[in-house]
């Protein structure tokens, strides 16, 4: 009875608040991805359909420092558009200055991740992942733990958000909620697709002029071609970094399988178990299986030229050094030779590559940069001057 009268009171309010407007918005505001035939759309959860209004709300929330306790950081602080949504740091820094053990991952194409973050098989949906930086304490990122009421108050008191939430969630009687926040941010991230590199022009549109001769040679090496030494598929890059995402750990709309993958690429080898530095051992930190020590998700290589430094802990500074790392088949440190790590992927056999080939391969990796992503106003910080 109580609920009924509540609804009856609300109904005229909703009508008065511009149902007509939101109807028009949804008719013209259905979200459509601008994707080529070779790229499937991301998987969209049934309870979070895409709309233009939701993506736009998600963009504002993504860049809003109201999402951090001390209002100094937003998602966009560690995921900056000009760096393909990374931060240029070896290890991220949270709003309280606490250092994260890991390097900020690009959130471009995050909607295609089989699992999110560097090595966590449990986090598989952007809506749920968003709660980690907001409320996590080990380490503190946005530092909002226990402050959900304060967060909602900040957004309700804002002059812009009540209308934006109502448009993005027209069926919700109380649209400003934690659920709506995570859904809008997730929708924005699903909209953040990045498939407009010169490689894509060559691949999808058959534009032969899109790649230079050097880049095409590098592409051949990347995808298993012979080296000057006559070795076939010596580089083995595409086994982990293949497919439209340039990562095998992919999910999308039509995917029927769990394609989570985690590999050890020989960065460390601290003891007989192949240990990595404590507390940052990848999949092992979740499973406690020594065979999982040092296993991390192969990240997408799209926009890789603008997302230095590299690896889960940012411990390799340049693409040149990355290629040298793989050519050696593991990293030699005083603490141990990663090349001999017992968990190392058998795709890391090491290879011989001459100076020209190295240059070609890196040229190809640089051709995976989508400059439109880095400047597209639809993905930009709405609070920036």
């Amino acid at each position: 009875m109580k609920r009924l009268s509540h609804t009856l009171i609300l109904l005229p309010l909703l009508l008065g608040a511009g149902c007509g407007d939101s109807d028009t918005a949804s008719a013209s505001g259905a979200w459509v991805w601008d994707l080529s035939d070779v790229v499937p759309p991301p998987r969209v959860p049934e309870d979070n359909p895409m709309s233009e209004a939701k993506v736009e709300l998600g963009r504002f929330l993504f860049y809003d420092t109201k999402l951090s306790e001390n209002q100094t950081q937003s998602c966009g602080s560690c995921h900056q558009q000009k760096l393909a949504f990374t931060d240029g740091l070896a290890q991220a820094k949270g709003s309280t200055g606490q250092e994260h053990p890991r390097s900020s991952m690009s959130v471009a194409n995050a909607g295609y991740a089989a699992s999110l973050t560097w090595a966590n098989p449990a986090v598989v949906q952007l809506e749920r992942q968003a709660l980690v930086p907001m409320f996590g304490t080990d380490p503190v990122e946005l530092g909002m733990e226990g402050l959900e009421d304060e967060l909602l108050r900040r957004l309700r008191d804002d002059e812009r958000y009540p209308e934006m939430f109502a448009e993005a969630f027209p069926k919700e009687p109380d649209p400003i909620s934690l659920d709506s926040i995570t859904k809008a941010i997730a929708a924005f991230q699903r909209a953040l697709t990045s498939f407009n590199s010169r490689y894509d022009r060559w691949n999808e549109e058959g534009d032969e002029t899109a790649l230079t001769a050097s880049e095409r040679r590098g592409m051949t090496l990347f995808f298993g071609g012979d080296t000057a030494q006559g070795a076939t598929d010596a580089l083995e890059c595409f086994h982990c970094h293949g497919g439209f995402l340039f990562s095998q750990a992919v999910d999308h709309d039509g995917n029927e399988f769990n394609q989570q993958t985690f590999f050890n690429n020989g960065l460390y080898n601290l003891d007989a178990d192949g240990s990595y530095p404590k507390g940052n051992e990848g999949l092992f930190d979740i499973t406690d299986d020594p065979a999982d020590k040092g296993k991390f998700k192969p990240p997408s290589l799209r926009n890789i030229a603008v997302t230095a430094p590299y690896m889960h802990d940012g411990s390799i500074a340049t693409l040149e050094e990355v290629v040298e790392h793989y050519a050696r088949g593991g990293r030699l440190l005083e603490s141990g030779d990663g090349k001999d790590n017992p968990n190392k992927s058998n795709f890391l056999r090491g290879f011989k590559i001459n100076a020209q080939e190295k240059e070609d391969l890196i040229a190809f990796l640089r051709a995976l940069t989508d400059n439109e992503l880095l400047t597209n106003p639809a993905f930009s910080d709405p609070f920036a001057e």
Binding site: M134, D179, T287
Partner: protein
């Protein structure tokens, strides 16, 4: 100090039908937090804790219980059907002995109904049932909507949270939830967890009228080194690789680090 309120309600009111089982009775199950022999008071310093005799001031002491059941005179375990309120949802209740972070009020009881009768035993689990644990937290009702109890890295809740300090380097914390969880993008969430980490408590003799469920912090940290953190995380974050967790898991009766689970000593009936 009478905690148990028992009265009869007509089944017509309680169940909406006259099926012959004439009545139900309300049960108010009392919980208390202790530190050894002393009652726990939030913000008070306790000394001589753990293997290294550490002193700590706690700022948070909370846990969820699920599937509370009483044993009737026929020896059958009967669910305590919890009232719906801000500390209880479905078959889950939150006990809170600090009321500091996240919630302001404390809660030292679980309240619900059982069919009228005599009951002489109690069992429950410290935890949140799998289906609720891994559902969408952002739409969950109270007390499952407290971000300070979200355990997002495993897509679940912290079943137990006991913190000292306010996030300084010298803090010591115990956060417990399911670990080793795996998800699937198609399923949209967690599908299984290798370590449930739900603490099972069962007492054949327990009088809800007279007894209290006591959670003893001193018993929880017995044998643990609190002053010298060995792993990367502060205190025990229940990670299977967190070497600070061993004694705590043992005291909770949970398997850890290849050691099988045993009898828990954190909870006692008094």
């Amino acid at each position: 100090m009478k905690r148990l309120v028992t009265w009869m309600t007509l089944s017509a009111l309680a169940l909406g039908c006259g099926d012959g089982s004439s009545s139900s009775q309300q049960v108010e199950l009392a919980f208390a937090a202790m530190v050894g022999a002393e009652p726990f008071v939030c913000g008070q310093e306790y000394s001589d804790l753990g293997a290294d005799g550490a002193s700590l001031v706690l700022s948070d002491f909370r846990f969820y219980v699920q599937e509370v059941e009483l044993k009737n005179s026929a020896g059958t375990w009967v669910p305590l059907v919890l009232d719906e309120n801000k500390f209880q949802s479905g078959n889950v209740a939150l006990l809170d002995f600090c009321g500091d972070i996240g919630t302001e009020e404390m809660n030292e009881r679980a309240v619900g109904t059982v069919p009228a009768g005599q009951y002489d035993g109690l069992r429950f689990k410290m935890g949140v049932p799998f289906e609720i644990n891994h559902a969408n937290h952002s739409t969950a009702p109270s007390p499952l909507n407290l971000t300070s109890l979200f355990w997002n890295w495993q897509g679940g809740y912290k079943f137990l949270r006991i913190d000292s300090g306010q996030f300084s380097a010298n803090d010591w914390r115990m956060h417990l939830g399911s670990t080793g969880c795996e998800g699937d993008a198609q399923a949209g969430g967690v599908t299984s967890c290798a370590n449930s980490n739900r603490v099972e408590v069962e007492w054949d003799t327990f009088d809800a009228d007279a007894n209290t469920v006591v959670a003893d912090y001193a018993a929880l940290v017995d044998g643990a080194t609190l002053g010298d953190d060995q792993a990367a995380d502060v205190g025990c974050m229940a990670k299977p690789t967190d070497t600070d967790c061993g004694p705590l898991f043992q005291n909770l009766g949970l398997p850890f680090g290849g050691q099988p689970g045993g009898t828990q000593s954190f909870f006692s009936a008094e």
